[in-house]
Amino acid sequence: DVKVTQSSRYLVKRTGEKVFLECVQDMDHENMFWYRQDPGLGLRLIYFSYDVKMKEKGDIPEGYSVSREKKERFSLILESASTNQTSMYLCASSLSGGQEKLFFGSGTQLSVL
């Protein structure tokens, strides 16, 4: 089975800190995604990557950046964390093309104080 691993389950940071959320998948998937999950809003796409060093903005990229130096790893970066970035962050991966299901990690609950 595909495994998508997010490095931290819970994270507490202070306003203004630079935050790194790490995601690793073990099935050689081309596509990787970062979503943010908030109550009543569902999942919203922040960034996705369809190849190493390739990235595209999703629906809510402001305040975030990403890095994909290796195929298996996709990092989400909060350059200067703010309280409105307190949320659950979900990483997912899939094979290339449409019609492929997403495999999700268990999520990182980030609190920015």
Partner: protein, 115 residues
């Protein structure tokens, strides 16, 4: 505007009762359609998907969904709910406007199961 809507935020059903969760989408062409489930503390797991063909699709855990083009709907159903079905359910679409596989999710429906 393109969107995915799950009209029910919370639903409570008794164990053994039937269940229907609603999903409506607003896209020009028929998108690829998915239902995912998220149990507490877990990531999302795919229940079922529709791309084309038979409009009634079967999924895991006894779930099924019916695509109705005329209503732009993809409702999820289960004949008899089990206590372990308590979770949050997400409808999602792939608009097919690109080949990237990125999904647009609805707001989610939280299912509570009464004993």
């Amino acid at each position: 505007a393109q969107s995915v809507t799950q009209p029910d935020i919370h639903i409570t059903v008794s164990e053994g009762a039937s269940l229907e969760l609603r999903c409506n989408y607003s896209y020009g062409a028929t998108p690829y359609l998915f239902w995912y489930v998220q149990s507490p503390g877990q990531g999302l797991q795919l229940l079922l998907k529709y791309f084309s063909g038979d409009t009634l699709v079967q999924g895991i855990k006894g779930f099924e969904a019916e695509f109705k083009r005329s209503q732009s709907s993809f409702n999820l159903r289960k004949p008899s709910v089990h206590w372990s079905d308590a979770a949050e359910y997400f409808c999602a679409v792939d608009p097919r406007s690109s080949n990237t596989g990125k999904l647009i999710f609805g707001q989610g429906t939280t299912l509570q199961v009464k004993p």
